[in-house]
C-alpha cells in the first residue's frame, strides 16, 4: 500500500483558497487517489477521487502531476464550516478478496478563521 504524507495542520481565513498537498512517492500503476473530509464525531466523507491530471467537482479540485507522486486538494473560498481533518488515501480502485484496502494516514487538520 502506498504510504501518504500530509502536513499535520494548516490555517486559513474565510474566502481564501486552500491547497493541501499529499506525497505518495511509491504510488502503484493501478492506484487512485481519494480525499476524505472528517468533522469531529462524524464518519469521514468522500470529497474527490482521481487518477491523473485534474478532477473538479462541486466542492473541490484535485491536481495530480504527471509522475503522480503527489496530489493537491484545492478548496476554493473556504468558510468556517470547512474546518475539518482532510485525509489523502491511495489505493487500487478494485478490491479483490483480502487485498486493496485503503489505509488512512495522519490527515491534515484545516482550521478556518474569520
Amino acid at each position: 500500500l502506498a504510504k501518504t504524507t500530509q502536513p499535520i495542520s494548516m490555517d486559513s481565513y474565510e474566502g481564501q483558497e486552500v491547497n493541501i498537498t499529499c506525497s505518495h512517492n511509491n504510488i502503484a500503476t493501478n492506484d487512485y487517489i481519494t480525499w476524505y473530509q472528517q468533522f469531529p464525531s462524524q464518519g469521514p466523507r468522500f470529497i474527490i477521487q482521481g487518477y491523473k491530471t485534474k478532477v473538479t467537482n462541486e466542492v473541490a479540485s484535485l491536481f495530480i502531476p504527471a509522475d503522480r507522486k503527489s496530489s493537491t486538494l484545492s478548496l476554493p473560498r473556504v468558510s468556517l464550516s470547512d474546518t475539518a481533518v482532510y485525509y489523502c488515501l491511495v489505493g487500487d480502485m478494485k478490491i479483490t478478496g483480502g487485498g486493496n484496502k485503503l489505509t488512512f494516514g495522519t490527515g491534515t487538520q484545516l482550521k478556518v478563521e474569520l
Binding site: 487512485y32 481519494t34 476524505y36 464525531s41 462524524q42 464518519g43 469521514p44 466523507r45 468522500f46 477521487q49 485525509y87 489505493g91 480502485m93 478494485k94 478490491i95 479483490t96 478478496g97 483480502g98 484496502k101 485503503l102 489505509t103 488512512f104 494516514g105 495522519t106 490527515g107
Partner: protein, 113 residues
C-alpha cells in the same frame, strides 16, 4: 437519506462485559469495513467483509470479532472490552470497484467504565 446507519450512536459498557455494535446499509454494497478511531488519531482498519468472506487485519486483537449475516447488516462484537477499547467505531461500505470511495456511517462512540 441515511445510507450507512450505525446503532447506537453512543454506547457505554462495563469493563469486560461483551458489547455488540451494529451497522446496516441501504446501498447494496458488497464490501463492508469496520474501523476504530481513537481521539486525535486516524481511523484504523480492523477487518472487512468482501461479500461473505471475512478479512482480518494482522494486528486486530482477538477480542474483536465480526459477523455479517446478510448483505445489509454487519456487527462488531467486542468480547471483553478493556479501557483501551474506548473509541469511535466506524462502519463503511464500498462496491468492489471503489468509484466514489467509501461511504461511512456516523460512528458509534464506545465508552468503557
Amino acid at each position: 437519506d441515511a445510507m450507512v446507519i450505525q446503532n447506537p450512536r453512543y454506547q457505554v459498557t462495563q469493563f469486560g462485559k461483551p458489547v455488540t455494535l451494529s451497522c446496516s446499509q441501504t446501498l447494496n454494497h458488497n464490501v463492508m469495513y469496520w474501523y476504530q478511531q481513537k481521539s486525535s488519531q486516524a481511523p484504523k482498519l480492523l477487518f472487512h467483509y468482501y461479500d461473505k468472506d471475512f478479512n482480518n487485519e494482522a494486528d486486530t486483537p482477538d477480542n474483536f470479532q465480526s459477523r455479517r449475516p446478510n448483505t445489509s447488516f454487519c456487527f462488531l462484537d467486542i468480547r471483553s472490552p478493556g479501557l483501551g477499547d474506548a473509541a469511535m467505531y466506524l462502519c463503511a461500505t464500498s462496491r468492489d470497484v471503489q468509484v466514489g470511495g467509501y461511504t461511512f456511517g456516523s460512528g458509534t462512540r464506545l465508552t468503557v467504565v
